[in-house]
């Protein structure tokens, strides 16, 4: 059969909880079988469409796109008069877009899918999840005929229908065909014929060779075929594909069970709920011909079989898409010029705005004028960038991004570009980025060049708390037809996979929960492997070997691994385009209510969509909060400067600190950073980073850029950290492979750290331009391309007379550096908020900590920051019904110091509405007043009482426990509204009846109980440190505190104890996993390292246990740093299990044989591993 069979009904894995195989695997299977086209018809959306297009292009076969949609009943009866009619699903159909119609077929498909999600102004929209996804027959007909398209598309489309509707076994017609009710079948079929335009309808026969007479049996297919032939409609043959090969069938079974939320065993009793057998794979042309023959034979003879195959081929031909002409593959589309406020040539407009930027940033009246040489460099650079942008036709894109940045700034919201966008002078001049690329030697070609023709990524960080407002403003500004949020695919990971596999097998939920909790950061795809390696899974591994169901559980978990589960709003992506956007992507409602594309970030470039990452950064919110708090507290520039012991140049007269303008050479700030007390500071607060800043001892802003850049997998893997530190501190001489490289490498003492340095090395030694150098850099680390880079480098460098030894040495660096290095522009962009946060912590620690508590930006639990406040001597003011605000406030104490007042919000179980009402009613004169006006529920009254919020109103009568009991006994009944004082009116100063009737005698809570209450309700230990209650045990055991640890020698045996604050498991580094656990004991943090044997000795406590006792030996990590290499850990809360000091084994003995001979080396390795872990985490978080 020429061109092979074409599958027209194929669900990919992007049909969540339905399809099994990825588009690439399906297209590869089709290609390998000689099929010359393949459809992708995911359920409810085009979720896999772009991947399918890419896979088909790769295979050289024609893509076909469609969707599998539910059809809703046309007439529903309203539940009550006036409410929208209730519709129900009357079956599902496959709808295919017609191709070679200048995009009109694809546009109709996109709009239809959006309509099915209530997003195209059709039908009852409703909230996400609240309505059934589907369309009525009439709506479907409107899209098939093109009636609902934009006029220009409709004209281009012509007369023929734009969509083909396949009525298969899942349709109402197909369902009727299971039985023998021919009249029902005919009636349903004629309803379809009446509704749809001529030529849009076909029937689809499917047989999964199920038991004769039942659904998806050959007889079912035969009846559908006969119905089509009788009515003169075309009948195609499909296989309702869900997996690429027979192996996927078991996975499909599990997905069916998950979708139905029923165990397999139960599904087996209700045959209708799932696939009847395992025949739904992408069968070969030969198999499908055999299927056609068997259907044909039973339906009337050979000519029926031939007709089935021919009609399938004919519909396939109508549906073949031209990726470029129909779908716009690879064609970037920017908003129309008038939308970004220009009426002339975008290139000229861009140039003018850059000129304005020069005046604003360099030659403004308040700024030092540029020297002649600098001016020339600036002009050259600008000229250069503008010519590249003009040549690529991206001016409108830059203007669009500038428009967004301007819009955000106009809202008064902090924002900053992150990433390689900081390399561009144009971005700086337009106000998109706040880093001067000339000052930091950043190279434009790293960001954009004539050789990089895809749209560059510009990411904008904004205050996290304002992100949604920013989104709404962008929609308003550009128009809802040009903007949509991007989505992301959430895939199965280990825990979810094991839960759902367990559900399918019918294991008890508690048991599954137990297992799921033990899974810690590994891919479920290698579950079986993990069982053998991970000590915390040892008990489970043992059960597996003796328990058949658990054995299966492991296999099914592996099968589910990484399958898409659902889509959700991407955390930052906003798609901007012109008015044709919704013809090119279907949208559905996001959790925010704003429309969200069904495409994810991988789909953007191929679909020519501009994606802007508007990232919510909590640190930006925390800093904005701190700045506002400082202004509120001090009120004027002079007061602010005096309170913070800093200058006034960058403080607005109303007391607003302009963080963009603070001096970047503040010695006090660098002193703080060098002290490693950087908890809460952006990017430099993790255990590994604290270790690195301690060793690096930054003195200038550029050192911070280097620090942040070093703390990445690339520089770490290529062993840059140690030599850099040694050279920096003069322990080793700086070595340059050749004097020519000195200018490029001097800032990092001869060590290659930045991508920019790679480009300069290539430029110097081979003479290639930066844009070419960036292409070469990208090939590094790619085994297919690296050899040509080496060849080029060696040839050209030799031609430029560099001798063999130099070439060898430099090549070794380039090779090792690979593609892993770090872009200095990224580092520079990150260093800005890092420095700003450290500056705030140095000069206004109270306001800064309040901002951190309010917005919780860091990696540590909030309670650790309480410990930090305690360390800094900042009073933490207790919760008070009159003094506390909704947020954390800085308040002046009686002794003149500034303290932080706990907030009314953040109490467990108290709603935001209650908090608002409580705050609105302040001040409260008495307990009765609180009861009458606060509107707090009884349980909330009890909670605030337990936390001491009413202590001041008790005026010394009784204690907290009395009041908790009192509120508990006397249900709060607030006074009817008419008796309540109106706003502004003070309640009458009546004697406090509540207080008078308070029964006394409850034992006052002990300090330990108070801390317990605080932890339960606030997740903070405020009045004392949690560890204080274990003081007795710790004394008996003879533990060392974090503060005392620093005074010990390297290699001292210690017991440390504390609360877990961070756990990290870096990826395997040349062998076995290392686990890092940081604990806090009230005097500071202790960072502990668990190597393999220690993990085995501590297996039950590695991940779940909160309070830990750890035995180990000290390891010096630098002049101001020390860590503990653990030997064993125990659960401190389980007193009976704790060891006796005398019985402890010799930790030095135990630690020695696994530590390397030189402790320093060990420490360096540890740092590397830590950095790898955190660096990777950062990279993941940033991508």
């Amino acid at each position: 059969m020429k061109g092979g069979f074409v599958h027209l009904d194929v669900a990919t894995a992007y049909s969540a909880h339905y399809g099994v195989s990825r588009p690439a695997d399906l297209a590869a299977a089709a290609g390998a079988d000689g099929q010359d086209a393949l459809a992708c018809t995911d359920r409810d959306g085009l979720y896999g469409a772009v991947k399918h297009l890419g896979a088909c292009i790769e295979q050289g076969i024609d893509p076909i796109l469609g969707v599998n949609l539910a059809i809703l009943s046309g007439v529903g009866s309203p539940r009550r008069a006036g409410s929208p009619p209730r519709r129900h699903v009357i079956g599902r159909v496959v709808v295919l877009a017609r191709g070679h119609r200048r995009g009109a077929g694809y546009a109709a498909l996109c709009r239809l899918v959006s309509a099915a999600h209530g997003m195209d102004g059709v039908g009852d929209a409703g909230k996400a999840g609240a309505r059934i996804v589907g369309v009525t027959r009439d709506v479907l007909a409107d899209y098939a005929s093109g009636r609902r398209l934009r006029p220009e598309l409709r004209l281009a489309a012509g007369e023929e229908p734009l969509l083909t509707v396949l009525l298969g076994p899942e349709s109402d017609v197909g369902q009727a065909a299971v039985g023998h009710d021919h009249r029902l079948l005919r009636r349903r079929l004629s309803a379809w014929r009446r509704a749809l335009p001529e030529g849009a309808l076909a029937l689809a026969a499917v047989t999964h060779l199920n038991v004769p007479g039942s659904r998806l049996s050959t007889s079912h297919a035969v009846r559908i075929t006969r119905a089509g032939r009788e009515s003169g409609l075309p009948v195609v043959l499909t296989n309702a594909v869900r997996y690429a090969d027979p192996d996927g069938a078991a996975t499909a079974d599990v997905l069916d069970a998950v979708r139905a939320a029923q165990p397999l065993q139960q599904l087996a009793e209700e045959q209708e709920a799932w696939q009847p057998n395992g025949q739904g794979w992408l069968k070969s042309t030969a198999s499908m011909i055999r299927v056609a023959q068997s259907v044909g034979q039973a339906a009337g003879g050979v000519e029926v079989a031939v007709d089935l195959l021919e009609q399938t081929r004919r519909i396939a031909d109508l549906s073949r898409l031209d990726p470029v002409a129909d779908v716009g593959w690879g064609l970037p589309v920017v908003p129309e010029a008038r939308i970004i406020g220009i009426d002339g040539d975008p290139d000229r407009e861009l140039k003018q705005r850059c000129e304005a930027g020069i005046t604003r940033l360099y030659n403004g009246p308040a700024l030092p004028r540029l020297g002649r040489a600098d001016e020339a460099a600036l002009r050259d650079r600008l000229e250069d960038e503008l010519s590249v942008i003009a040549e690529l036709g991206f001016a409108a894109y830059f203007l669009t991004v500038a428009e967004v940045a301007q819009l955000i700034s106009d809202l008064g919201i902090r924002n900053a570009a992150r990433g390689s966008g900081a390399s561009s002078l144009v971005n700086y001049l337009l106000g998109i980025s706040h880093v001067d690329p000339l000052k930091h030697d950043l190279i434009f070609e790293r960001f954009l060049s004539r050789r990089r023709t895809t749209l560059p990524d510009i990411d904008i960080d904004v205050e996290s708390a304002e992100r949604h407002r920013v989104y709404r403003e962008i929609f308003d500004r550009f128009g809802a037809e040009r903007v949509t949020l991007m989505s992301m695919q959430n895939a199965y990971r280990a825990r979810g996979a094991v839960r759902d596999a367990g559900l399918a097998l019918g294991l008890e939920p508690e048991r599954i929960d137990d297992i799921a909790k033990q899974l810690w950061r590994f891919s479920a795809g290698s579950f079986r492997e993990a069982l053998e390696e991970k000590p915390e899974l040892a008990r489970f591994a043992e059960q597996v070997s003796s328990h058949r169901q658990l054995d299966l559980l492991v296999d099914l978990t592996e099968r589910l691994d990484r399958l898409p589960r659902h889509i959700s709003m991407h955390p930052c992506g906003v798609i901007l385009s012109d008015a044709s956007l919704l013809d090119r992507t279907p949208v559905q409602a996001s959790g925010l209510g704003l429309p969200m594309s069904q495409f994810d970030k991988h789909d953007m470039d191929p679909m020519g969509m501009i994606k802007l990452d508007v990232l919510g950064v909590r640190m930006q919110s925390a800093m904005a909060y701190a700045v506002a708090e400082i202004r509120r507290l001090h009120g004027s520039a002079g007061e602010v400067a005096a309170a913070g012991a800093h200058g006034t140049d960058y403080v607005h007269s109303d007391g607003t600190i302009m963080l963009e303008h603070i001096p970047q050479d503040d010695e006090a700030t660098f002193e703080l950073i060098r002290s490693t007390h950087t908890l809460g500071c952006f990017q430099i607060e993790s255990p590994g980073q604290r270790e690195l800043v301690g060793k690096l001892a930054p003195q200038r802003f550029n050192d911070l850029i280097i620090d942040i850049s070093l703390f990445r997998p690339g520089p770490m893997k290529s062993n840059m950290v140690k030599p850099y530190l040694e050279n920096r501190h003069g322990f080793a001489p700086e070595v340059y492979p050749h004097p020519d490289l000195r200018p490029a490498l001097a800032e990092t003492h001869g060590v290659t750290v930045f991508h920019e340095q790679i480009l300069r090395i290539l430029n110097v030694m081979t003479g290639c331009a930066y844009d070419e150098a960036d292409v070469l850099r990208r090939y590094l680390g790619n085994p297919d391309r690296e050899p040509e880079v080496e060849e080029f480098f060696r040839t050209e460098a030799t031609r430029k007379n560099y001798d063999r030894a130099v070439v060898d040495e430099v090549w070794e660096t380039l090779r090792a550096f690979g593609s892993f290095g770090f872009c200095k522009a990224h580092g520079a962009a990150f260093a800005v908020p890092t420095y700003q946060s450290a500056w705030l912590k140095t000069h206004h620690p109270e306001a800064f900590l309040a901002g951190l508590w309010e917005h919780d930006p860091g990696m540590y639990p909030k309670r650790l920051l309480v410990a930090e406040a305690r360390r800094l001597g900042i009073p933490i003011l207790p919760l008070d019904v009159n003094e506390s605000d909704v947020s954390y406030r800085v308040q002046r104490c009686d002794d003149g110091r500034l303290g932080i007042r706990l907030a009314l919000s953040g109490v467990y179980g108290v709603s935001a509405t209650e908090v608002r009402r409580l705050r609105a009613g302040q001040p409260y004169g008495s307990l009765s007043d609180v009861r009458e006006r606060s509107g707090l529920r009884r349980v909330s009254l009890e909670r605030y009482a337990a936390l001491g919020a009413f202590d001041s109103l008790q005026r010394g009568r009784g204690n907290r426990a009395d009041l908790v009991r009192h509120w508990g006994r006397n249900a709060a009944a607030s006074v009817p509204a008419r008796y309540q004082p109106i706003a502004g009116q003070l309640p009458l100063p009546l004697p406090d009846l509540e207080l008078a009737t308070l029964q006394l005698g409850a034992p006052a809570p002990t300090a330990e109980e108070t801390v317990g209450t605080e932890l339960d309700l606030l997740s903070l230990d405020v009045s004392a440190h949690l560890m204080d209650s274990h003081a007795g045990t710790l004394r008996r055991l003879g533990t060392t505190t974090a503060a005392d640890l620093l005074g010990l020698r390297n290699g001292s045996e210690v017991l440390v104890a504390g609360i877990r604050v961070a756990t990290q498991t870096p990826p395997m580094r040349g062998g076995r996993r290392v686990v890092f656990i940081s604990i806090d004991d009230g005097t500071g943090c202790v960072d502990c390292t668990f190597f393999h044997e220690a993990q085995q000795a501590s297996a039950p406590f590695l991940f779940g246990t909160r309070l830990l006792l750890i035995h180990g030996i000290t390891r010096r990590t630098g002049p101001r740093g020390i860590s503990v290499q653990a030997v064993q850990a125990w659960d401190l809360a389980d007193a009976a299990s704790l060891p006796d000091r005398e019985e402890l084994p010799d930790a030095r003995q135990l630690a020695r044989h696994r530590a390397s001979p030189v402790p320093q080396l060990r420490a360096a390795e540890r740092l590397d591993t830590l950095m790898e872990a955190e660096g990777l985490d950062n990279r993941v978080a940033a991508s």
């Binding site: 060779l209 199920n210 395992g278």
Partner: protein, 104 residues
């Protein structure tokens, strides 16, 4: 209808179609082209493993319904046989009452 599960020997044509089988010591010749379909298995009850890459035959098995005449006694019988794809084994799973089948 009787329910069985016992293995048996079969004769296949070159095209892979069943032409004869031996049951209880008697050879039966298949009369018409057999019906063939796939029935689900309760693999989660029956199997120890369901690992990725296991291939076909885990979720369903092939069923053949054949009408055959006993070479010795001349009786017409209808058998349901299962064919386990990966092991190649054939089993008798159902024996239909021949007379009633014909009358139906």
């Amino acid at each position: 209808m009787g329910l069985f599960t016992q293995s048996l020997d079969v004769v296949l044509t070159e095209g892979g179609v069943l032409s004869a089988l031996t049951w209880r010591g008697q050879r039966y010749d298949v009369l018409e082209e057999p019906l063939q379909w796939y029935e689900r298995r309760k693999w989660w009850e029956e199997e120890q493993r369901a690992e990725r890459g296991r291939g076909r035959g885990l979720v369903d098995h092939e069923i053949w319904r054949v009408q055959a005449r006993g070479a010795r006694d001349g009786d017409l019988r209808t058998f349901d046989l299962s064919h386990h794809v990966s092991s190649g084994r054939w089993r008798m799973i159902r024996l239909h009452d021949a007379v009633r089948e014909e009358a139906a």
